[in-house]
């Protein structure tokens, strides 16, 4: 089963060199144990564009869909047999990137 593990940032700070190093080590572990599917960092929400083509004319809006203090700054897609496994991985991931995470099942 796959889980989307989103990294939540609550300030403007980016990952420090120590955090990057820890994330790399964590990712190597993920790959070695076959839990890795994909992972990536995201550009700031300021660089986002909202696209809404539900109506007659498409609308483009500058900025994130939700204005909030907390926002997603990166994510993993992890493969895990069940939530216990996913949570264990997320525990390590949270420590490594020094951020709060959200673990959500992928349908």
């Amino acid at each position: 089963m796959q889980y989307l593990v989103s990294v939540i940032n609550d300030s403007d700070s980016l990952a420090t060199p120590e955090e990057m190093a820890a994330i790399t080590v964590f990712n190597e572990g993920l790959q070695a144990e076959d839990h890795w599917v994909f992972a990536a960092g995201l550009a700031s929400p300021l660089s986002a564009t909202v696209v809404d083509n539900r109506g007659a004319e498409v609308m483009f809006t500058d900025g994130p869909f939700l204005e909030s203090k907390e926002y997603i700054v990166g994510f993993w897609i992890m493969d895990a047999a069940d939530l216990d496994v996913a949570l264990k991985l997320a525990e390590k991931a949270s420590k490594a990137c020094n951020r709060k995470l959200e673990v959500r099942p992928i349908l």
Binding site: M1, A81, D82, L83, D84, L87, V103, P105
Partner: protein, 393 residues
């Protein structure tokens, strides 16, 4: 039985419904047909059939495969007593840390305790529809997020047991604090339910110290229930309780468990929170008369508890014991140090009020009682505090 069905069919909903239908069928058929020689097996077989029927009706692909497996499964149904592992799995699943505490409590009472949604709703003073939704969502999360249906691994067990015990303690306290004439009687059954579940877990995990500790704590606390509220619906503190109405068999059972854990502690197994709280209760309930209470033992135990759990509430309770040993002035000094952390806790103000009263500082005592009354939620407690305040000259 729900546990075994969940293992077999991998779905809490189907298991629950099948179990309910089997019981309903039994209620309908047994009076007429007579009770079958092995009622447990009859129920299990009936429930299995109902579950298979439902899976077939719903045409789930997964279900079809499972149903196919089951049709070829020639094992006789397990006797109900061999469900120990199943029950543990169910309890640990209902108490999973990924579920909110409220959800864990509701799910455990529903699926393990067998209480109806209406009963649980009344017990926690919540609308029935809201409670039903809470339970439905919890089951949906278990399914969607794939919370595994199993007993945690040895490495994870201590933390997960702690989670289960928190749920039971919450249920117990909810039941125990329910006092006063307007209380729904269902709330009293919560203490019995918490004790029953703790006994169940103790039977499966007889070597776990904290399980024993919590059970002992609950037994000795429950033993004092009849002495706790006066005929006028007022709270009676332990100092003033009629010890003659304490349940001696529950106390004896609690003491037995505490003694067992003392032996383990002497052999080097460090006691956890519940074991220490149980030991404190044991010292209290050991005294036939309140004047025989071994307060220095109690203070020593609170010192040990502070080492594990340096919370201000523990410090407050320790100070109450210190007042008996070293007098109210020393105790008050210790209590006042907790002001910034306990200002919104009614028991903090009640404690201060009592100590100030003993020191003859009536004005300040009255003010503290007022604060305590304002913050207290329990009618019996409010009645008690009001009387104490009004008795100040």
């Amino acid at each position: 039985m729900v546990a075994a069905l969940t293992t077999r069919f991998g779905d809490l909903d189907i298991a629950e419904e099948a179990a309910a239908e089997a019981f309903a069928a039994a209620v309908e058929r047994w009076p007429a047909d007579g009770t079958p020689p092995n009622p447990g097996a009859w129920l299990t077989t009936t429930a299995n059939r109902k579950a298979i029927d439902r899976i077939r009706r719903e045409n789930k692909r997964d279900g079809k495969q499972k149903a196919a497996q089951l049709l070829y499964d020639n094992e006789p149904p397990e006797p109900l007593d061999a469900l120990t592992d199943e029950r543990l799995r169910l309890i640990f699943t209902c108490c999973h840390p990924a579920l909110a505490m409220q959800s864990r409590v509701a799910l455990t009472l529903r699926l393990v305790g067998g209480l109806t949604v209406a009963e649980i709703a009344r017990a926690f003073l919540v609308q029935e529809a809201a409670m039903g939704q809470r339970i439905t969502r919890a089951k949906a999360k278990i399914k969607a997020a794939r919370i595994p249906y199993r007993v945690p691994s040895a490495a994870d067990l201590p933390e997960r047991i702690s989670g289960v015990l928190s749920v039971l303690f919450l249920v117990f306290n909810e039941g125990y604090l329910a006092t006063g004439p307007d209380t729904d009687p269902v709330r009293h059954e919560l203490t019995a339910e918490a004790i029953r579940l703790a006994r169940l877990i103790r039977a499966e995990m007889p070597d776990d110290g904290e399980v024993a500790g919590l059970l002992a704590l609950m037994l000795m606390t429950e033993a004092r229930r009849n002495a706790r509220v006066s005929s006028r619906g007022e709270l009676v503190t332990m100092q003033k309780q009629d010890r003659g109405v304490w349940d001696t068999s529950l106390i004896a059972e609690g003491h037995g468990l505490v003694r067992e854990r003392l032996v383990a502690a002497a052999a080097g197994v460090a006691p956890g929170r519940y074991q220490i709280l149980a030991a404190i209760n044991a010292v209290h309930t050991y005294a036939r008369d309140v004047r025989d209470t071994d307060w220095s033992q109690i203070v020593a135990l609170y010192d040990q508890l502070l080492g594990l759990d340096p919370s201000p509430v523990v410090a407050l309770n320790r100070a109450i014991a210190v007042a008996e040993l070293d007098g109210p002035e020393v105790a008050l000094a210790a209590v006042d140090r907790l002001d910034d952390r306990l200002a919104s806790y009614h028991a903090y103000h009640a404690t201060r009020a009592d100590l100030l009263r003993r020191l003859g500082r009536n004005e300040q005592s009255r003010a503290a009682y007022d604060k305590a009354i304002e913050l207290a939620g329990n009618t019996a407690e409010v009645a008690y505090l009001t009387r104490r305040r009004d008795q100040l000259s």
